[in-house]
Symmetry: none
Subunit: 225 residues, 2 copies
């Protein structure tokens, strides 16, 4: 599963780094920003999955940042507030924060909240069953049925097939596939795609109605007759 990317926004550099250490330990990718403006910049540039947003910041406060973000995205946001600060719950809620935490907090609790929020948010990209003749790809059960038989498939192969099959007849370059299936900043070689295509192909054999076709000099597509 592709790790989630989290943007941490706090004017206190130490807090940022502390949080970073914990989140990295949990396998998250972390971006940091120390003020509202650079937060928005990173938010626009990177495809982050969740934002931890401190409220009290010089120049642009957390509420303003949140308001700005909400103009274009429903990305999950957890507000951070120092004990004693008056945190206007209602305001945060109305602006669309998903949760909030009072500093200082237990790292474990932070991680739990992040997981809960991400879990809640993810189903939004409702995955659906894809069907063609002799082929059913069901992301709920993670099963591929080919000519009535269950085909076991490791996650990467499944994701690749699922992605291609959900966009039939559209060609993707290897780089596009790496981006879509492997993740936004996957550093690896594009040969990797070839190998996975091969593995999917040998599990799905030749077929009349559809196949993963090579578009020479360009990439691959899931072609349907």
């Amino acid at each position: 599963m592709v790790e989630s990317k989290i943007l941490v926004v706090d004017d206190d550099i130490n807090i940022c780094e502390l949080i970073e250490v914990y989140l990295m330990k949990e396998g998250y990718k972390v971006y940091k920003a120390n003020d509202g403006e650079s937060a928005l910049k990173i938010f626009k540039e990177k495809q982050v999955d969740l934002i931890l947003l401190d409220i009290m910041m010089p120049k642009m406060d957390g509420y303003s940042v949140l308001k700005e973000i909400r103009r274009e995205s429903q990305i999950p946001v957890i507000m951070l507030t120092a004990k004693g600060e008056t945190f206007d719950k209602v305001l945060g809620l109305e602006l669309g924060a998903d949760d909030y935490m009072v500093k200082p907090f237990e790292p474990k609790e932070l991680v739990a909240r992040i997981r809960a929020v991400l879990r809640r948010y993810k189903p939004l990209s409702q995955k659906r069953v894809i069907e063609y003749t002799d082929l059913v790809i069901d992301p709920d059960s993670y099963i591929v049925m080919y000519k009535g038989n269950k085909i076991e498939m490791p996650p990467k192969e499944f994701d690749l097939l699922y992605f291609l099959a959900s966009n039939p007849n559209k060609v993707y370059t290897r780089d596009q596939l790496l981006y879509e299936v492997w993740g936004y900043d996957y550093p690896g070689d594009s040969r990797t795609v070839d190998v996975h295509v091969k593995r999917v192909r040998e599990k799905l054999m030749e077929n009349e109605e559809w196949q993963i076709k090579t578009v020479w000099g360009v990439g691959y597509k899931f072609e349907v007759k």
Copy 2:
């Protein structure tokens, strides 16, 4: 999973709406009532699964509403009471309240308690015996019958099995299982799930028709042939 329906009863409209926002975010369906009488009306009309009940209300107070509800239903009720108000715990308990919260409260604490209460007293409508070949899982008696024999199972293992078996063929990540079976804010490690799966498996041995299957790189599912 079918979302639970919650009735929020408070004479303060703002509080009602605040709670509504939070609960909707958690995926609950929310009904609101601002006095005892309309609360009872909704309670009778809709099949709600849990009631949040403010005590101090004009006309008919929370105790009276609870008393009325208890004449015909064991539905879980969480009492709400403002700080400073004299709240008679004993009375609330005697009348059969399941829990109570003092306002102002942390929304996430409210959610945690709701989940806890619902897990304990799953509404009768949703609580059902699950049956497969050679397997009966009865949530009323907390008993698992496997090939005609009673299988003793500690609560966590039972809950895990029950959850998986009530959603056959659907894969859940470890995090999802922690969220669904362990609870909203469980901070623990996801290896915990593995261990429980192992224990359930060794009690239920190999079986042709169904099994708890590992979906490599993803999670677990209760697979049925």
